[in-house]
């Protein structure tokens, strides 16, 4: 009996150790990034372009680039994703097509991001001749974000009680009216939460934009959607692998990482807080 108790005690402490080691790893990681990067950040760092072939200056063009890439790609993926989710949830016939669409969504969600990059390069950059540009990168990122947005929107629509729909239909509303005035408004906060999380993911992706949108070094801002851009994640990679002045480039990379990290984490944290609030407030 005591042996079994002892074993249980040891086992549970082993689990505690696992969690502690994980936490330690992650704290060390975050601490290192923030301790090296925070001191680099200043107003000037955020608002000026890089200087002296990336060994000095700021990251303004990369911030602007990431903004445009993210906004454009979500702008494309969001309407497509929400409409797909509506069709799957409210119409969803014939069954074989639903099955194929679901398999496609799951497969797309598991495709490695570098393959998205190759796809974007082959299709948007070379075949459609968009060249390396915001639009080519944003379309690539939109395809990457689409399965995430569909899944989130569908979950949200599913969580609307059937009674709501039945009540609306019973009052004589058509299917479209029920969807637009009952289903969507009820599910919207949850849909937005899912979308916000995918915004965070899209903003941090590097591999898909490597060959479709990003450029190492640019002192000016993009002229339009057919212009190439700098982007925060790619800028970190470029600073670490290109150029020769590591001692002045690595601190800038840390600074850029803190900016990207704060951006992504604050976006995701917003989503998580919104979701938490909804769950608390929800009455059904």
């Amino acid at each position: 009996m005591t042996y079994r108790r002892l074993k249980s005690h040891i086992g549970i402490n082993l689990l505690r150790l696992c969690l502690a080691v994980t936490a330690l790893f992650l704290i060390a990681f975050l601490f290192r990034i923030f301790s090296k990067g925070l001191s680099v950040i200043s107003w000037q760092f955020l608002t000026t372009p890089p200087k002296n072939s990336m060994t000095a200056g700021g990251i303004y063009p990369a911030l602007v680039g990431t903004f445009w890439l993210t906004v454009t790609s979500i702008g494309i993926a969001f309407p497509l994703g929400i409409m797909t989710a509506i069709w799957l949830n409210a119409y969803g016939k014939p069954a074989w097509l639903v099955r194929i669409i679901r398999i496609s969504i799951n497969t797309l969600a598991g495709v490695p991001s570098i393959i998205y990059g190759l796809f974007g390069m082959a299709l948007f950059v070379n075949m459609l001749r968009f060249d390396v540009s915001i639009i080519a990168g944003a379309l690539t990122l939109a395809v990457l974000a689409l399965p995430m947005i569909i899944n989130a929107s569908e979950e949200a629509l599913k969580s609307v009680p059937v009674d709501f729909r039945d009540a609306s239909l019973a009052l004589g509303a058509t299917k479209r009216q029920t969807i637009m005035r009952v289903l969507i408004p009820t599910a919207l906060p949850n849909i937005l939460t899912g979308t916000i999380i995918s915004i965070g993911r899209v903003a941090g992706e590097t591999a898909p934009i490597m060959f479709t949108a990003a450029t190492f070094y640019s002192r000016r801002l993009p002229n339009g959607i057919f212009d190439e851009v700098m982007a925060l994640p790619y800028h970190i990679y470029a600073l670490m692998t290109e150029g020769t002045k590591a001692e002045s480039q690595v601190p800038i990379a840390y600074g850029t990482a803190v900016v990207l990290l704060m951006l992504v984490l604050s976006i995701s944290a917003t989503a998580i807080i919104i979701r938490y609030r909804i769950r608390k407030k929800r009455k059904w």
Binding site: L26, K36, L88, V143, L265
Partner: protein
């Protein structure tokens, strides 16, 4: 009533849903179209099992076995790090921790899963690699060992979050019956709760595997990049993803090197696709039960 509006709305959402299929086929079509022509020059078995990757030599050789092995090594290494830590943390959070701690831990794990991989790459390259080089007195810290640890840290939140989901769906009655029969907490966890959540846990591991083998930035920055089969975990390696990302810039559209990199993407796609289908089956069985 307004039937044409109804029909238009239905048609619109229907058309939108077809886009996922179009995109998936677009991806498959583009990588096969650009990649398959390499087989006119290299035989399939020489491409897969050939161990000489010299795409830029005067007489180029396109054998990707070393790259496949590189991917497999770092991925398995990552799972060796992430599986015990991720699963252990998940079990602790789900079975031992107080509800309050659980409520805090879950969102934190979710937040961690959102950290961009290039930042992990930066951490590996600028901090862990130099440290590993010093600790083990190596010529370089950019190797299988370091990249496995970094990839592992990256995969932990995925495995932890999904395993925790699986564990939390185990009915409370099972735990209580086990405890009522006199089993200790540990026995309940190991013999009742974890076996009951087995499918979900395997599923989370497979998802973690897929994520790790497809991850580009970390291995590109931390694995070192030498295209030789590493003879020890402290040797540098070049996984498939990092070969694609590192070499694509040197190619000319349509040349043999370009084709061979797309062909690597085909191999990678098939591996992740097979893993996904397998995971689906594991998960589907669970939900059918």
């Amino acid at each position: 009533m307004n039937t044409y509006k109804e029909k238009l709305f239905k048609a619109l959402t229907y058309t939108a849903s077809l886009f996922v299929i179009i995109f998936l086929f677009g991806i498959i079509y583009s990588i096969f179209r650009e990649g398959l022509p390499i087989l006119k020059v290299v035989k399939l078995q020489d491409f897969i099992f050939g161990s000489a990757w010299y795409p830029t030599h005067e007489i180029p050789e396109f054998g990707i076995w070393t790259l496949i092995i590189g991917s497999v090594y770092v991925t398995l290494g990552a799972l060796v790090v992430a599986l015990p830590l991720g699963l252990g943390s998940a079990v602790y959070i789900s079975e031992v921790a107080s509800p309050r701690m659980r409520e805090i831990a879950k969102p934190i794990i979710e937040l961690l899963a959102a950290i961009p991989s290039v930042i992990y790459g930066l951490f590996g390259m600028a901090f862990l690699a130099p440290a590993v080089r010093q600790w083990f007195n190596l010529p370089t810290g950019l190797n299988v060992f370091t990249s496995s640890i970094i990839l592992g840290i990256m995969v932990i939140p995925i495995i932890a979050s999904m395993s925790e989901d699986a564990l939390s769906t185990v009915p409370k009655a099972l735990r209580e019956s086990s405890l009522a029969l006199g089993a200790t907490k540990w026995e309940t966890i190991v013999r009742v709760v974890v076996p009951a959540a087995k499918r979900g846990i395997i599923g989370s591991t497979l998802i973690g595997f897929g994520r790790a083998i497809g991850e580009t930035m970390v291995v590109l920055m931390v694995a070192g990049g030498s295209a030789k089969i590493p003879s020890s975990i402290f040797h540098s390696t070049r996984p498939m993803t990092s070969a694609i990302a590192a070499e694509m810039g040197e190619t000319v559209v349509g040349d043999l090197h370009y084709q061979s990199l797309f062909a690597i993407a085909i191999v990678l796609f098939l591996i992740t696709f097979a893993t996904n289908i397998f995971t689906e089956i594991v998960f589907l069985k669970r939900s059918a039960r």
